[in-house]
Symmetry: D2
Subunit: 149 residues, 4 copies
Amino acid sequence: MNTSTIRLRVRYGETDQMGRAHHAHYLLWCEEGRTAWMRERGASYADLESEGIYLPVSRVSVDYREPARYEEEIDVVTRVSGVRSRSVSFAYRVLRASDGTALADATTELVCMDGRGKVRRLPGGLRSALSKAVSESWDEADVGPRGEG
Amino acid sequence: MNTSTIRLRVRYGETDQMGRAHHAHYLLWCEEGRTAWMRERGASYADLESEGIYLPVSRVSVDYREPARYEEEIDVVTRVSGVRSRSVSFAYRVLRASDGTALADATTELVCMDGRGKVRRLPGGLRSALSKAVSESWDEADVGPRGEG
Amino acid sequence: MNTSTIRLRVRYGETDQMGRAHHAHYLLWCEEGRTAWMRERGASYADLESEGIYLPVSRVSVDYREPARYEEEIDVVTRVSGVRSRSVSFAYRVLRASDGTALADATTELVCMDGRGKVRRLPGGLRSALSKAVSESWDEADVGPRGEG
Amino acid sequence: MNTSTIRLRVRYGETDQMGRAHHAHYLLWCEEGRTAWMRERGASYADLESEGIYLPVSRVSVDYREPARYEEEIDVVTRVSGVRSRSVSFAYRVLRASDGTALADATTELVCMDGRGKVRRLPGGLRSALSKAVSESWDEADVGPRGEG
């Protein structure tokens, strides 16, 4: 399995006066999905930072399709979409847990830096783990409709 | 002048443990820039909502170039980059106020909805005002280096 | 059992440059704990709002004892600490899940309002449910050290 | 003058589905007020941190009186309310700029720490500057009604 899935519940403080989750919070949900993806593969980002490896976000894009509402449970599915010597890209699908409706698609690119903010190569072991997991597109088994069982 | 510029100061609570403004906050800065752009042209978004016109964000992208630091002043320059019958696109440049360094470029697409979440046409007056202000690209006078005077 | 407990993981975007969860986020964690407390007792706050009952926060206090770190799991234990005709108070303890260390204690007071922002009495059923669950203090079974099993 | 005042505009992303600024954001506004108070007295908190002096928040309380709305301008007035050898307390009043209505009162206590998180004495110069500015209560000239001129 090349994806990781986390389940969250939309917080009241994440809504805005339009009655939906504010669009900026999706970036934190994706970040939590990415953190889980890495932790589940033995590459905790907290550990990386303690070794002086940083992965700041250099690019994001999000397509919002349907609103997420307060107290709804949502799933964030994460996969690696590309790896280069000094950067890695993740893709995310945000789904309403109750029925599998796709709420948003997102991508982020992260660049590898040392503790002084200088771009550097991804550590060999991390790059190898990421490369093995690259998926060009979503697998329907991961992001398809829920609740059919 | 087709752009609006607001000046903000990076809040401590906007930083993350990498010692820079967390990437999600740029979306709120752009939102404040867009709000100012509209207010300065007599189309307050707060007023639009009170008339039942909503402009939820349907798409965002951000390229992060240089980090923004706590207590730094930043400028957010906003322009309209495109108008269609049911949506409008804005582009933003985030600059460090002290020296004009470009910190990030962003775009957002907003779709026009009524109070029940149904897509509708932009009101004629608003569409006309937006259309007159469309700029395909940045004007150096708006986003060029500061502090040369 | 008069308390509810939820488990969260500290998000990267919740840290600040001091390397700890920024103090404002505890209010969202407490809010999520309160939401769970109500939902588990059949009084979903989302449902209350759809019936025109609002419970805005009128007062908060937080004592921060130990920092919460990125990627740590934390438990938020919630109890009702007081009920009056037009308001209700909740108390919260935030614990590090791995060892039960108390990270923070918090209280919030919520006032009951109608859809126009006018203070009103708590609905009878809700007030009754809240009143039955009032606890003056923490039960050690709920907030004591973890991991002894 | 022992107070500092900053002016902010409520961001859309700071509202919640109750149509008001969510209560957690007041802590960031107070933080920005405190940052300004220190900067205006030559004790930039960013500089303090670069010297290895940290002032994490150990306690907060907020009383919310009236809601703050999207796009409204608000003033945050900050004063020092107490100084001890290892901690300092600030008090804040949040006002609607248009008419001076008090929206909230808040207090925070900050404890002085070194870079390893160990409590230490406030640096002598900082403690002296803070002590000279202590005010037990609000001066009406600072927080009284606006717009009467």
